[in-house]
């Protein structure tokens, strides 16, 4: 049942011109939608416009969450309800920063919330990083999730080394080693399936700077690795030797995770080999990616051997001076996403790669707020971002109530921006137009036993949206 009949009968932007507050949100992922949800609920005269660079919404829920974790994507239902709200307007295919400036948005709205996330990745900053066969996890995940881009891994080597031991690293390892007949029923892209079908990868090592007690991934993802069919866990017992004494003092989550890893070490020793294997390697940092004889492709990685100073979550990795080389045909660095500056008028801290803010209020810039990863850095799950977005929304509402945001002035909102975009030859994709893309993706997927077959090119998305 659509609540939104009146709203969608006109073109995008023909929305409310009433006197209530108008807020603009930049970025149509979880942060953007959760911020919008909270704002819309709080005031029944509030209008919220969500701008998104791609024609399709939902950000990392669509492009980051692994295809074999469909239940995590259930939040899309909540976001869809928000987008279909009669006082919410979605403008896809609009690039804030190039199609329209943040300054223009600030003029047209009472407040602007930056929720555009972290689209880049931290670099390992070692030589050889540019060799063929070296990928960021961000690009690898984007590849199997259909993020429009040009990266094409080949998977014609036996060993893959992943740097980083967070949940993204484990997602990558799991997708590399999962049986095809499981993956082919998910929304993984067809070309990723084709490449994985031809994959020679049999062994994945997941490498971290510190020790087992500092590992950043969580227990659910480790369990999934252990349960992979025809795949053995290849851990080094020596990595766990000094760990058992520390166990009893650990908080329950860390204790259960550590116990699970230790149980894996015991179980696997002496078992006959499976076809594939995965394992953690600890106390290693990348020093150099080593090329093969042709000088163009990766053939191995040189790692610094570390020791730990201190203990617990704050332990530091300190190089010992020793090094170790691992042979591999592919290196995937999963050491963190990174936000980029959007517009010269928006303050940006290049060291921490976030927009400087005080609990969501952008520093020194009235009427500008931020939520999600661009506000606090690229860690945490959807629920973390939800809480964070609610905090920013609450701050914004407080500023409206106190008069810090001047609501006595009417603002034109989406009407003005749509007119500007039209002058510039930019056409937005409305939410019902996204729903056309969505239905077509689902239709194509159903034909091959998948939840959806994603469009990989923006121009294909637009062709359907505007058909």
């Amino acid at each position: 049942r659509h609540q939104v009949k009146n709203k969608d009968s006109g073109p995008p932007g023909s929305g409310s011109s009433g006197p209530g507050p108008k807020v603009c949100i930049v970025g149509g992922g979880p942060a953007g939608f959760y911020t919008a949800q909270h704002l819309l609920k709080a005031r029944d005269d509030m209008v919220v416009d969500v701008y998104e660079r791609l024609p399709v919404p939902f950000g990392l829920v669509r492009f980051g969450v692994a295809p074999d974790h469909p239940e995590v994507k259930n939040v899309i239902n909540t976001f869809t309800q928000t987008a279909q709200h009669e006082r919410c307007y979605f403008y896809g295919n609009v690039n804030v920063g190039t199609d329209v400036s943040v300054e223009e948005l600030r003029k047209a709205y009472h407040a602007v919330v930056l929720s555009y996330g972290a689209e880049a990745n931290r670099s390992m900053r070692v030589s050889g990083e540019g060799l063929a066969g070296v990928f960021s996890a961000r690009d690898f995940v984007g590849w199997y999730n259909g993020l429009p881009s040009n990266k094409e891994p080949h998977l014609n080597c036996e060993t893959v080394v992943i740097l980083g031991q967070g949940n993204v690293a484990l997602d990558v390892a799991r997708i590399l080693l999962s049986p095809l007949d499981l993956l082919k029923k998910t929304d993984i892209t067809q070309h990723a399936l084709d490449t994985l079908a031809a994959s020679r990868v049999r062994r994945v090592l997941i490498v971290g700077r510190r020790g087992p007690l500092q590992i950043a991934c969580t227990i659910k993802e480790v369990r999934e690795m252990i349960n992979l069919p025809d795949t053995a866990a290849d851990m080094l017992p020596a990595d766990f030797e000094s760990i058992s004494e520390a166990l009893k003092d650990l908080p329950r989550p860390r204790k259960r995770l550590t116990e699970l890893m230790m149980k894996t070490v015991k179980t696997e020793s002496g078992q006959h080999k499976a076809n594939k294997s995965w394992g953690f390697r600890f106390l290693r940092s990348p020093l150099e990616v080593l090329p093969g004889p042709d000088g163009k492709r990766v053939a191995g990685i040189r790692l610094a051997v570390n020791k730990l100073e201190g203990s617990g979550e704050d332990a530091k990795a300190v190089p010992t001076g020793q090094t170790e080389d691992l042979e591999c045909g592919m290196v995937i660095s999963s050491i963190g996403y990174k936000s980029l500056p959007i517009d010269p008028c928006v303050p940006f801290d290049p060291r921490s790669a976030i927009v400087p803010n005080n609990m969501g209020r952008v520093k020194d810039t009235a009427g500008l707020y931020c939520s999600g990863w661009v506000k606090r850095g690229p860690t945490g799950v959807i629920a973390t971002t939800m809480n964070d977005s609610f905090d920013t929304a609450r701050m914004l509402l407080k500023d409206m109530d106190s008069g810090m945001l001047n609501l006595s002035v009417n603002k034109p909102g989406g009407q003005e921006i749509t007119a500007l975009l039209k002058e510039r030859g930019v056409r937005a994709v409305s939410f019902p137009e996204w729903e056309k893309i969505n239905l077509e993706e689902v239709r194509r997927g159903t034909a091959v036993g998948k939840p959806r077959e994603k469009f990989l090119d923006v121009k294909d998305m637009l062709a359907v949206a505007w058909s």
């Binding site: 049942r1 239940e71 995590v72 349960n227 860690t379």
Partner: protein
């Protein structure tokens, strides 16, 4: 995880929950596993297995079958509702449209910890066993206590009539910084 594990989770934990104003399009989103179209009935099966002794138990409209549940929300206010045996606590929150911001983000599929609720110790001891999968997600919940459970995994029975559950102060997962957990 493997797809069969995912399917098991979905059947155990309540996949397609009724949403007040769900359009047909958003229902399409939730059909991520097209072969499992019978899930809504399977969800109720899990909770009702223990209670089915006669057919009258599966007709929730008769008032003598109702169970009173008290929720203490994050502001400390008590909300009292009547629900049916067989419903999970998440079902109750959704069906009764209780205004708990962000509760049940993953819709009962053991993929988050936002339906975390806290029981009184005596009641906690009487609850059914906790699976590894529930504990894995509960381990990440904010404000975890020794009497915490995930609301999507707790099914109401007559013996829980009058129960009071408390919502923790924040919904954030502790997976929010490098290496925490």
């Amino acid at each position: 995880m493997s797809l069969s594990a995912a399917a098991r989770r979905l059947t155990l934990a309540g996949w397609s929950l009724p949403r007040r104003s769900c359009s047909t399009v958003s229902k399409t989103f939730s059909r991520t596993l097209p072969s499992l179209t019978r899930l809504p009935e399977l969800n109720r099966d899990r909770c009702q297995r223990r209670e089915i002794t006669s057919s009258s138990v599966v007709q929730p409209l008769r008032s003598e079958n109702k169970v009173t549940v008290n929720f203490v929300n994050r502001d400390g206010e008590k909300v009292t509702v009547k629900a049916s045996p067989g419903e999970s606590l998440l079902d109750v929150v959704v069906d009764q449209d209780l205004d708990f911001d962000g509760f049940g983000a993953c819709e009962g599929t053991l993929a988050c910890s936002t339906c975390h609720v806290i029981f009184e110790e005596e009641i906690y001891k009487q609850l059914g066993p906790i699976s590894d999968e529930e504990m894995d997600m509960l381990d990440l919940a904010y404000g975890l206590t020794d009497t915490s459970r995930l609301g999507c995994q707790i099914c109401l029975t007559k013996s829980l009539d009058g129960v009071t559950v408390r919502l923790p102060e924040s919904v954030a997962d502790i997976r929010q910084s490098d290496g925490s957990a």
